[in-house]
Amino acid sequence: MAMAALRREGRRFAPLISPRPISAVRSSPIVPTHEYEGPIGVRYISTQVVRNRMKSVKNIQKITKAMKMVAASKLRAVQTKAENSRGLWQPFTALLGDLPSVDVKKNVVVTISSDKGLCGGINSTSVKISKGIYKLNSGPEKETKYVILGEKAKAQLIRDSKKDIELIITELQKNPLSYTQVSVLADEILKNVEYDALRIVFNKFHSVVSFVPTVSTVLSPEIVERESESGGKLGELDSYEVEGGETKGEILQNLAEFQFSCVMFNAVLENACSEQGARMSAMDSSSRNAGDMLDRLTLTYNRTRQASITTELIEIISGASALEG
C-alpha cells in the first residue's frame, strides 16, 4: 500500500529504495499504469504502454496536420469573398458616420461566432466583447438583448444571459455564404427584434495570425433623425437632398435595413475567415506539440528498452558468476 503510494508520488524515491538506481526510471515523465517490480525493487515501465501512447500521439499529429490543410484551403476560398465585400460598408460609414458611443434605450447585440470548435480563442473573445457591450450599455430604462449566430456563442451565453437572448441562428455555413442568405437573415432579425441600435460583434480578419474584434453600429432611422437634428457627427445629414419616396423617413428606413444587411454580410464573411485562420494556427501548434511529445516518448521508450536489456544482462552475468564462483 505504502509502496504503491510512493510509486505514484515520487520517482525520486527510486534511488533510496533500490540499491541499483536506474536513471531511466528516475527521469521518466510518465506515470506508469503497468508498473511491475523486478528483483530488489527495480521499477520500470512496460514498453508496451509507451508504444501505445506513441501510436496514438502520432495519429493525433496526422489528424491535426490534415485539419490545418483543410482550414487553409477553406480560408483561401472565403478570403477572396471577404476582401471583395470590404467595399460594401464603407459608403455607409462615409455617409452616416460611426457612433458606437450613442446613447439609446434599446440595444441589440448581434454576436457572430462559429458553429464548429477547435478554432482557438476567437469565439470566447466575441462573447467577452458582447458581454462588455452589455455592461457598457446597462443603465436605468435601458435594455440590451442578444441575437446569436453560431453554436459556440450560444453555448457560452446561454449559461448566464438566457433571459436576454432574443434569437439564435445556427448552421450558417452549411451552404456557401451568399448575400441572399444573409439578407434573408437580416430581414428575420429586423422583423422580430425591436431596436434603436444594433451592434454587430465579430472578428475582423487582418491576416492569418491576426484577428481584431470589432463592433459595427447600425442605428434605427428614428435615432438617425434624432442625432442629425442634434448636430454633432451626423449634423451634415440634413444637407443631403433625399430623392424619391414620399417622406425622408421612408428612405431612411430602407437605408437602415440595407445598411444592416450589407454590414452583416461583411461581418459574417470576415468572421468565417477569422475562424479558418484561427483553426489553422490552433491545429498547427497542436501538431507541433504532438511532435514534441512524440520526441519525448521516443526517448523514454529507448531508455526503457535499454534499461530492460541491461537488467537482463546483469541477471545473466550475476547468475553465471554465482555458478562459477
Binding site: K81, N84, S85, G87, L88, W89, Q90, P91, F92, T93, A94, L95, G97, D98, L99, P100, S101, K128, I129, G132, K135, L136, Y179, S183, V201, K204, V212, P213, T214, V215, S216, T217, E236, S239, Y240, E241, V242, E243, G244, G245, I251, N254, L255, F258, C262, F265
Partner: protein, 219 residues
C-alpha cells in the same frame, strides 16, 4: 486670351495638388471614437476595446469650397467593387459650359433612381437616392459602359464623391433576351393568379424588374 486660358488651366491642378499633402487638410475624422474607448476602459478595464469601422475607413477628402472638377465614383456590389474610387475628371469644367446631354460632356453618370434617370456631374449637390431596377451608364468621353442594376442606393457627397451600392449589377451584354421575355410572361401570369397581398407584391416586383430588363435590352 489663350495664355490666360492656359494659366487658369495650370492653376487648377496645382491647387488640387496642394490641398492633399498635409495631414491637417484631411477631415478631422478620428481613427477611433474617443468617447467609446473611454467609456469602455472605465467599465471593462481588463480588455482592450474592440475596434470600430472608423479605424478601418479610408479617409475621404473634405468638402472643397469651389465646384470640383472631378468626380470620384465608388461602385460596389456585395461580391466585388466594380469601380473603386475611380476618378473622372472634367478638365476645363468652368471654361466650357457643359450641358447634361450635350456631346460636349466629357463625363456623366446616369443612375436609375426611383424618381427617374438622374444624371450626376462633378459638383452635384449632396443627395441620397434609392435606385430602382434599371440601367446605370457611365459616359466617359465617348465610351459608354452600361450596367443593369437590380436595386440599391446612391450617395452623392458634397466633396464630389459618388457611392453607388447595388445588390446586383451585370453588364448588358450578359443578359439573355429570351429568358427576360419568359420571365416577364411568368410573372404576369403569377400576378393574375396571386391571392394574398404578399404574392401580389412579389409578382409585381418580378414584373417591374423584367420589364426594366426588357426596356434596357431593347431601348
Amino acid at each position: 486670351m489663350l495664355r490666360r486660358a492656359s494659366m487658369l488651366l495650370a492653376r487648377r491642378p496645382i491647387l488640387a495638388a496642394r490641398a492633399r499633402p498635409f495631414s491637417t487638410d484631411l477631415p478631422a475624422a478620428p481613427s477611433a471614437d474617443a468617447t467609446f474607448t473611454e467609456a469602455w476602459t472605465k467599465v471593462i478595464p481588463n480588455m482592450d476595446p474592440p475596434k470600430t469601422p472608423l479605424s478601418f475607413m479610408q479617409p475621404r477628402p473634405p468638402t472643397p469650397s469651389s465646384i470640383p472638377s472631378k468626380l470620384t465614383v465608388n461602385f460596389v456590389l456585395p461580391y466585388a467593387s466594380e469601380l473603386a474610387t475611380k476618378e473622372f475628371a472634367n478638365p476645363c469644367y468652368d471654361l466650357i459650359p457643359v450641358f447634361k446631354h450635350s456631346i460636349l460632356s466629357l463625363f456623366l453618370l446616369i443612375v436609375p433612381a426611383t424618381t427617374g434617370q438622374m444624371g450626376v456631374l462633378p459638383g452635384h449637390v449632396a443627395t441620397i437616392a434609392e435606385l430602382k431596377p434599371g440601367v446605370l451608364s457611365v459616359h466617359e468621353g465617348s465610351e459608354v459602359t452600361k450596367y443593369f442594376v437590380s436595386s440599391g442606393f446612391v450617395f452623392i457627397h458634397a466633396n464630389s464623391f459618388a457611392d453607388i451600392i447595388a445588390v446586383e449589377a451585370v453588364p448588358l451584354d450578359r443578359l439573355d433576351v429570351n429568358l427576360v421575355q419568359k420571365g416577364l410572361a411568368e410573372f404576369t401570369s403569377k400576378l393574375s393568379s396571386a391571392t394574398t397581398d404578399l404574392e401580389k407584391a412579389e409578382a409585381q416586383i418580378g414584373i417591374d424588374v423584367h420589364s426594366a430588363l426588357n426596356s434596357a435590352l431593347t431601348g
